[in-house]
Amino acid sequence: MKRVVHYLVAALVVFLLWELVSVSLLAVRGRVILPGPVATIREGIQHVSELSSAFGASALRFSIALSIAFFLGLPAGLVLGFERGLYQVFSPLIYLTYPIPPVALLVFLYLAFGVGEAVKIVVVTCALFFQVLVAAQGAARGIPRTYVTAVRSAGASRWQLYRHVVVPATLPAVLTAARVSVGLGITMLYVVETKLGLVGGPKTGLGRFIEYYTFRAELSLAGVVGLSLLGLMFYALLELLERWLCRWKHLGGPGAP
């Protein structure tokens, strides 16, 4: 509840700053450069159904991309980080491909996956996948030996080792990494919803909305607000998930954050 209040206060501060910038630009340049929050929200409410369907389309894409990134990236990263031999073989491969931004390969992805829905999801998935993979791998490499020994001493199988040690030990770091990557994912989503949206395929999503209304500044900005809410939503979701799944990380006491 306290956190909700924090977010509301923060939103208020953002709105005030926004209004301030908007008013100063108006005063300096003599015409509306950046519409204020009130006008933006008013426009947004007038087009609420169009805006919310764009939000829904973007949210769906992002959820699918995030889920795929998790279901592929988490196990792959954990295995690559935990199994010594595999790490040595595959880590150069990962570090070579990791820095390539998927947008740089857009043309090829476009040729490979067509111009429809798939390619949009593929690009966002790629961006998030590598973040999850690298975080999982790093966390799995750093698991203290004593946890592994404790479980091995009881006669644990490989599977039990993952279930009782590797997954729970790395989950906080992986969820945090995923949370931090939401911004990157939203950026990628925006890119594919605009640039590719023009070429063809379903014309939906907030990126498309923002671009389509470029010359109706208030409406376009309402789309931007939608995009930031989308990011916030996933950020909060991942944080809640982390707090729920990793309760042991959030105990009280003098060392508590």
């Binding site: 004593t146 009881a154 006669g155 729970p168």
Partner: protein
Amino acid sequence: MIEVEGLTVSYGAGRRTVLALAGVSLSVAEGELVAVVGPSGCGKSTLLFTLDGLIPPTQGVVRIGGQMVQGVRRDVALILQDAGLLPWKTVLANAELGLRIQGRRGDVREVLEELGLAGFERRYPGELSEGMRRRVGIARALALNPKVFLMDEPMANLDSITRQRIQDLILKLWQGFHFTGVLVTHDIEEAVFLGQRIFVFSPRPGRLVEVVENPEVGTSKYRDSAQFLARVRHLRQVLVESGT
């Protein structure tokens, strides 16, 4: 119960090989409680890991109950140097861990109660004192009802009151459960209080340099007796003479 012959263990390979144990031979009778003392890094933990089947001998053989040790055994339990609790599991889940992994049923609540941990079942290790964490580690091993109990400095870095309490606890458990116990310790008095025989190891690579007989273990008020003090003095003498 435990027979070790010519045990040599080295870590790593090539030029970076570390020899931890060199030609150790010893045996522990069934139901006997022995202590292992030696300087830091002499291979005490390594000895326990080998007895537990966690690392294979580089040379030599280890037998438990007449069988060669190859991999971990269900009737041998190990208490790790730092208790080895999993911070993401509650006290109850940590205590049950061994049983669950082995797919066995059993009630650990009784054991937790015995060790004064009743009421803390749902707490996480991060919420406990160091002494309580050690007791959870003991509970986890005890729950397996093992024939052989390997204990790696279960009292290290505890205050002297807690230390004594856990020493008394281990003695009581040994008298009640009749397990065969190997206790690794840094502490001379602890070794004399709990080791019917005390194996003294040299600095790395660890070799067995002396065995001190100490049959009075478990007799009433042993800790306060003149015999105890004399034994402590003797062991200290042995450690000095062996250059450890």
